[in-house]
């Protein structure tokens, strides 16, 4: 019963919009930011070109780009010559890539849709950029529906999780067997946690900002917290973590409340937010039975 409802929601969220070429709306778009790439694909817009697709398929995973999307190289230095040969009608960037604008403008009009701004919870910005992308491609209704469906699904997951997950939760990615990166309220994961009605055990800002990676002992400051580890975790870390006395002594680890999630784009938009919420439910949905 529960599962049926979930997959129905998932269907509304992702599969309702049959993939259509952006050309249909008269626009061939190239996408620099992965968050926008996710959003485009979720709305059924297939860009002509996007960055680092090899890495995207491993880290962001879904929605998967069709094989004929051209890979234009690194996000930090996209291949301008190739872009010129592809000759898109528009280029989508975010604040991270604003510095590339002078070069990109020479190829095609470049649109900056912010998702991440310092200190701001990104979910609302992601909603706004989703609507903006919908507007660009004549998919306003679809964008609106996607935003609504994503919000509804997150709320539903929140209700279900709220009944079983009673602990605050750390969202981390493991760098090595001694350090982690924490996701605070200014990250997409932190924002989603708040929307799910869960408590983020990391009260500081995301450690992406100016601070060194955090030592694992910081996890002991909130002893009762659960731990969600965003993949991918390097194999040697997984091995040595088991021998780490502190890690093994954490109540979350002892009680099976430290779970590894599948890889998720750290700087994603709504599709990543959804993927995170679903992964969280998959990992922690049964927590009530565990503790």
């Amino acid at each position: 019963m529960l599962l049926a409802r979930r997959s129905l929601l998932a269907a509304t969220a992702l599969a309702v919009f049959a993939p259509r070429r952006a050309r249909a709306a008269g626009k061939r778009v190239a996408v620099i930011d992965w968050g926008h790439l996710e959003t485009c694909l979720a709305l059924g817009v297939v860009p002509v070109a996007a960055t680092e697709l090899r890495q995207y398929r491993e880290i962001a995973v879904e929605p998967a780009p069709p094989p004929d999307v051209a890979d234009i190289g690194l996000r930090g230095s996209p291949n301008i010559e190739l872009l010129r040969m592809i000759a898109p009608d528009a280029i989508l960037i975010s604040d991270f890539y604003e510095y590339q604008r002078p070069l990109l403008e020479r190829i095609a009009p470049t649109v900056n849709l912010p998702v991440y701004q310092p200190g701001k919870p990104p979910y609302a910005l992601a909603e706004r950029s989703t609507r903006a992308i919908g507007g660009m491609f004549g998919l306003k209704a679809e964008a609106e529906a996607f935003v609504a469906a994503a919000g509804a699904e997150i709320e539903a997951i929140g209700q279900r999780l709220g009944q079983v997950a009673r602990h605050p939760i750390f969202i981390v990615s493991l760098g090595d067997s001694r350090h982690f990166r924490a996701f605070g309220a200014d990250s997409m994961f932190g924002d989603v946690i708040a929307r799910l009605g869960l408590e983020n055990a990391w009260t500081d800002r995301t450690s992406y900002s100016a601070a060194a990676p955090v030592g694992l002992e910081a996890l002991a400051r909130v002893p009762e917290a659960s731990v969600a580890v965003i993949g991918p975790t390097p194999p040697e870390v997984r091995r040595t973590l088991a021998e780490n006395a502190l890690w093994s002594a954490l109540p979350a680890v002892e009680q099976g409340r430290a779970q590894e999630l599948a890889p998720i784009n750290h700087f994603g938009a709504l599709p990543s937010a959804l993927r995170f919420a679903r992964e969280l439910e998959r990992a922690f949905g049964g927590e009530g039975r565990a503790g």
């Binding site: 291949n79 301008i80 390097p234 021998e243």
Partner: protein, 658 residues
């Protein structure tokens, strides 16, 4: 410690140790288990498996590095030898990066072994490169610097190409002492014990080694064997530290020097004092890092902090080191074969450069493979390719002439523009701008780089002024500036955020972002800064004769040096904005020019300019094409083109001075 300090050295170190102990006691007291239940149990584990082993690791790592540095300095008779100046750390990092990506099983098997293999390889390379030059200190340090820069560029390229997965390498590069077990402390204790035992056994050969090869050989003793044995042990100790806690600079360099300055005369005394001072240095630094930690974690990793503290220490320390041997710097440059028709040769070089430019503009890869562009596509692509090409070639030209100036002033054929440290200064400036705002525009980024380079230039001129900017001073100042700026860069790259990626890109050299206005700026810079050098060609002709001869021929040596160094530094800084701090081209181009027979200064300048421009343009084209559509760093290709030549040059052992 300085003589005017009324404190005896031993009292000084006792005070430093006491300060470290107070900081440690504070950490223990604040972390003392106070709560009951689960929380208390966790606090206890943090104390026994975190705070305590961390202090032990800090002391052991410091002592191990101090001993490793002492052994290396002793056996190479080179007070600047230490794991990072010899490229050990950079080699270990490259090996670990490569293994993480291509052989994760190897990393899971033994990180220490991978690091050791990488470190040993770079040291072997550096020693092999300088063997024929009698392991003469300056050559060893310069070769180490080049090897380290190349390894760093390669690591940067690997990290860039693989993104997220190498978060661990960022952390590792910063050198964090955070602990959750006694494992690393135990490994370090073993390394230190083995090192101490080996030093005790090799005490006699070690003492002989410091006498110099000839004297040592006449006294018997298998000099080479014990030399290699000691180097092997020292490298193993250093890479053990690297594998357990990451890169920690300066301790290996500073501890033995401070031991000597603290009055340790005999080898035995130094073998005791250097590790002790190393332990105190690192323990104190780590205590300070923990003391200033915020709620979100430590602000800088300890390894980066040691470098930040060590930079000024090094600047203070270096002029006080009287132990330096400077054989190669005094000698005049060997006379190379003179070309019969230099003008024809220069015209040929110009034609060659033009051919490279033409190929780089017309030929390229597209979605459907190799294409020769024509028509409208060519016009559009040329619009994109020409600025890049101009920037790359311009940077190559600038490095070429700067290299000629530096090599002529120092009389050292292994010196290149990077010994000035201004390239890294540009990086530190860029880092500061990016740290202030991750979304800073290109104008701001360029401004920051220029200011950073300028600051380093002023530092060099100020540091070097007392010695009349002599070659020794120049090298001192350059090493200190390079080390300080690398520390700033490492600290920021260790954050592993968006800015880190941009810095890595700059570090490995990327012309991808250059537009018409930047290319124009570069060209204007070249046109403003290069011609004065041609006007000063007579000075450059005189310098290789030695200061005395130059002075007797009417050259105001000090002032001429000042102007030339300032000019070369500005050229290097400007080039670094476009192609990063790796300036192999600045080392190679002047060499090739001289090898071709362009012996007069103006000829060598023009030849170096043309060769530098052509080589850099070629590097840029290869960087664009090799992994299309992914763009590789230009610095890497510059190194790949220049590296083999450098090896050939050094292995040949030609142009040995002194």
């Amino acid at each position: 410690m300085p003589a005017n300090m009324r404190l005896s050295p031993l009292a000084f170190w006792a005070l430093a140790a006491a300060a470290a102990a107070v900081l440690f006691a504070r950490a223990v007291i604040t972390g003392w288990p106070s709560a009951g239940g689960v929380e208390g149990r966790l606090q206890e584990i943090v104390l026994t498996h975190g705070t305590l082993p961390r202090a032990a690791t800090a002391m052991l790592a410091g002592a191990t590095l101090g001993l490793s540095g002492l052994l290396l300095q002793r056996v190479l008779r080179n007070p600047l030898a230490e794991p990072s100046t010899l490229g050990v750390s950079a080699g270990a990092q490259l090996a670990m990066a490569a293994a993480t990506i291509h052989a994760p099983a190897l990393m899971a098997f033994s990180v220490g072994l991978v690091a050791f293999a990488g470190g040993l390889f770079t040291v072997a390379l550096v020693l092999a490169l300088t063997w024929k030059r009698g392991l003469e200190p300056v050559s060893v340090v310069l070769a180490g610097m080049m090897t380290a820069l190349t390894a760093n560029a390669a690591s940067a390229a690997l990290i860039l190409a693989n993104g997220e997965y190498l978060f661990s390498l960022f952390i590792w590069g910063g050198g964090s002492l955070t602990q959750q077990s006694w494992g690393p402390a135990l490994s370090l204790a073993v390394a230190l014990a083995v090192g101490l035992a080996a030093s005790a056994l090799l005490l006699r050969p070690l003492a002989l080694l410091s006498l110099g090869d000839a004297a040592a050989r006449s006294l018997g003793g298998a000099v080479s064997l014990s030399r290699f044995l000691v180097i092997g042990v020292a490298v193993w100790m250093a890479t053990t530290v690297a594998a357990q806690v990451g890169i920690i600079g300066f301790v290996g360099l500073a501890a033995p020097a401070l031991a000597a300055l603290s009055g340790a005369r005999s080898l035995k005394q130094r073998l005791v004092l250097a590790p002790v001072i190393g332990a105190i240095l690192l323990w104190l630094t780590d205590g300070l890092v923990q003391f200033f930690a915020g709620p979100g974690g430590e602000r800088v990793p300890t390894g980066a902090a040691t470098a930040l503290l060590g930079g000024p220490l090094l600047i203070w320390l270096l002029p006080r080191l009287k132990l330096f041997e400077w054989p190669s710097l005094a000698g005049g440059a060997a006379q190379a074969r003179r070309a019969a028709r230099p003008l024809v040769l220069l015209a040929l070089l110009a034609a060659l450069a033009c051919i490279v430019f033409a190929v780089a503009i017309v030929a390229g890869r597209g979605p459907d493979g190799w294409t020769l562009a024509s028509g409208q596509l060519l016009a559009d692509l040329a619009d994109l390719r020409i600025p890049r090409l101009v920037a790359a070639a311009g940077a190559g030209a600038m490095l070429g002439v700067a290299g000629v100036v530096i090599q002529r002033i120092t009389g050292n054929p292994l010196a290149g523009p990077e010994i000035l440290g201004v390239g890294m200064g540009a990086g530190a400036g860029l880092a500061a701008v990016l740290l202030a705002s991750a979304t800073a525009g290109l104008g701001w980024q360029m401004g920051g780089s220029a200011l950073g380079a300028l600051a380093v230039l002023l530092l060099i001129l100020a540091l070097g002024a007392r010695g009349g900017l002599g070659p020794e001073r120049l090298l001192f100042a350059g090493i200190a500036a390079n080390a300080l700026c690398s520390a700033v860069l490492t600290a920021i790259i260790a954050l592993g955020n968006q800015q880190s990626y941009m810095l890595l890109q700059w570090l490995s050299g990327s012309t991808g972002r250059v537009g018409a206005s930047e290319a124009l700026a570069g060209l204007v810079g070249l046109c403003l800064l290069a011609p004065p050098l041609f006007l000063a060609a007579r000075w450059l002709d005189l310098f290789p004769l030695g200061p005395a001869a130059a002075r007797s021929l009417g050259l105001a040596v000090g002032r001429a040096r000042f102007l030339l160094v300032a000019c070369a530094a500005l050229l290097t800084a400007l080039a670094a904005l476009f192609v990063g701090p790796l300036s192999f081209i600045g080392l190679i181009a002047p060499h090739l020019a001289r090898l071709l027979g362009l012996g007069r200064a103006w000829q060598q300048l023009l030849g170096g300019l043309l060769i530098g421009a052509a080589l850099m343009a070629l590097s840029d084209w290869l960087a664009r094409m090799a992994a299309f559509p992914y763009q590789l760093p230009i610095g890497l290709f510059a190194a790949l083109l220049g590296g083999p030549y450098l090896i050939y040059l050094l292995a040949k052992g030609a142009e040995r001075h002194g």
